[in-house]
Amino acid sequence: MSNATLEVKPSEQQTPTPEPGAPDNWRRFFSFSTDHKVIGIQYIVTAFIFFLFGGLLAMLMRGELITPEADLVDRTVYNGLFTMHGTIMLFMWTFPMLNGLANYLVPLMIGARDMAFPRLNAAAFWLVPVFGVILTASFFVPGGPSQSGWWAYPPVSLQNPTGNLINGQALWLLAVALSGVSSIMGAVNIVTTIIRMRAPGMGWFKMPAFCWTVFSAQMIQLIGLPALTAGAVMLLLDLTVGTSFFDPAKGGDPVLYQHFFWFYSHPAVYVIILPIFGVFSEVFPVYSRKPLFGYRVVTISSVLITILSLIVWVHHMFASGTPGWMRMLFMFTTMAISIPTGIKVFAWVATVWGGKLRLTSAMLFALGGLTTFLFAGITGIMLSSAPFDIHVNNTYFVVGHFHYVINGAVVMGFYAAIYHWFPKMTGRMYYEGLGKLHFALTFIGINLIFLPMHPLGLMGMPRRVASYDPEFAFWNVIASLGGFLLGVSTLPFILNMLSSWTQGDKAGDNPWRAIGLEWLVSSPPPHENFEEIPIVVSPPYGYGSDEPLVSNNPGGILEEEPEKTPIANLAGKANS
């Protein structure tokens, strides 16, 4: 290691295998690679393709909804469209996309060479195209895909009008079950990696906030997903072999299914948002040049959110067959979520406040995402108030609430993450101008489509309707136009990514002057990430202070041997 590097340029020296994305080896992205960085990008790209597919279905839905009558597509088709849109967006886009980010970033951030189980990791990824194909195939079976909404509530989901054993609903259940298997494999891997493979010196409170959020999110997967699996197995048995768990005609209990479903699917929304919180916590300090405000409290609130998220699910059932005491109990637990979440929101504002802001694309998307999240959080608190929710439950108010968070905060947070880590992943810079255009179109589009959904819901327009009463037409036209704009907004992004990846300027190892282990290695990082496993001596986000983050030279980038400062020595000793 201590050999003088001759004429070899450091960045080349770091990559014994060719750069990912370099023209000569793009094939590795289509192989059963066990490199967490390749898998990460495989996840993200696959997920994004499904995002476009799910978005395309949404465009058809908005086309139908631009007029009150059911005219563009038949009612059955519309019902299939929103079912598949919701399912694809959640199971094929958000979960794989977030697993991709976690896969790429966590080992780099904690100073590990790979995930704990590289082959399991690859297997978990390759399940994604498998169930993606199953789900897509369900469009072509007789009778069409599932038409029972992404909740698949029985008895509607059990009706099976064609009578075939292979029907859209059965394929849907199969795909969701495989998605669960894949997620559990991923969760076991990530949790083990974070607990067992942190670099020496990286105590829990020296770990970046992103890893904390990923950890919290994956814990939810481990605890919650099996409940959904149980419910799905019982539903599948009802559908195929004729058991009667959820079929009221045969003595079953459809409301029990709802409990199974939401016991997982509510926490699932925090599986989705927590890593995005992590992205915010990484992005704001870099572009404000300030440490993350209240780092410890922010990390602990992730864990609090995890715990609370497991005891609030009935807020999706306030108008269902639930007794009053249950409604009141879960109203209070739900509201309690705003406390740890508020801590985070205020901490981000305080991080930005008084900083030296640089409004890059990543920063703009993070700020935009935070704003839409705040809006959605506030409507969320309104929904959690049972008497009010009874009015707007199953109306467009709810659709507006969750698209603000899931399309506003999550999709924009995803874009923030991509712009921020793009130079690291590809070794190239993106075009800032296109990035800003992308932001402007996305932000306007999101507000234009999803804000009108709130007045619609308040007026009483139910969700999942192919046709509606004429008084709702005005806001729906605006929403549809906003939706088309939102669809168009993805084009500058795709253009930017494709051309930057192939032709962008070389980025250098740390273009943002960011602090973090991933920025100590070359861009893109070498196969084994670190030449030497880093020895961490400081907490993250040391902006404005002169403390070094590590006491060695893990990337091997520096020409000279780094001098060991007294602090570094001290910490090194304490750790041994």
Partner: protein
Amino acid sequence: MNTNDGTSQTPEPRTRNLGRVLNRRRILGLASLAAGNFAISVWMGQEAYKWLPPQASSEAVLVDKLFSFMTAVGTFIFIGVVGTLLYSMIFQRAAKYDNSDGPPIEGNVKLEVIWTAVPIMLIIWIGTVSYKTYDQMSILGSIAPKVMATVDTVPGEPREPVPGDISPSDNPAPIEVHSRQWSWEFRYIDQNVSSTELHLPVNQRARFKLTSDDVLHGFYVPAFRVKQDIIPGKEIDFAFTPIREGRYRLRDSEYSGTYFAANQTNVVVESQEEYQRWLSEIAQNPPQAAQNLAYEEYSQAEQGTISLGWATVKPAPAPVVNHTSSEEDSYE
């Protein structure tokens, strides 16, 4: 490591003294900003009433008040946070070649305690108001178990009577609501009549027995702000009090399959006399099959005149009733 190259800032204390930051001029400035925000929030709270349909039930009055209150609180939080962010974005940008770092402030215990405590208090407040509202509505009948009856009043505060609370003496049989894929049928047991349009006397607590013949449905009248899922195999007691005469829309609110969107009908709230007259009038009508979009289209599709797209379950036959509403009837 040269993680922050070229940043030789004058070292600032890690956590700044709150007292020093908040001198009197700042406090005054902050207070006036807060007052401005407060004024806007109160105004938004008033605006909120306009976004809702007419208040046609006593429950609507309660729910709207709650919504207005939450809108005001929410506006205050939203403007406060987004305003601060916007200020930073506009006034705290780094100059183009300024590569220095901001002050290395890592936290402030006092601030953190404040912004944990304030939301706690806020949600206790919102929660209490919501609880009282729900308690006063008492829309669920017997499936609200006995537990609720015992905690039915907020400690120290007697339950206010709801307009139209019925005295136990005049206790008409509840109206039977039959929901199907995809039609509504209302049966008035005492009079032995049925209708696809719901008629209710104004200012009297209306009671229902909600049932479904096939899948989940939802009983929802936006103008009344009440909603309840209907579960096959169960009878659900439900109650609310209409307080305003007029015609309103009743919608299915729990997704029920192909014709879910079309599973709507009207509610007519009328004076006690008109209501009684209507009941006795329709008792003369011979029962006849109602207009029903789902059934008609399905029959057409069976004859091959139209296509319904992907597979659908067969709709229930149109209900046979004494009074049928027509799709063209207007409503508010």
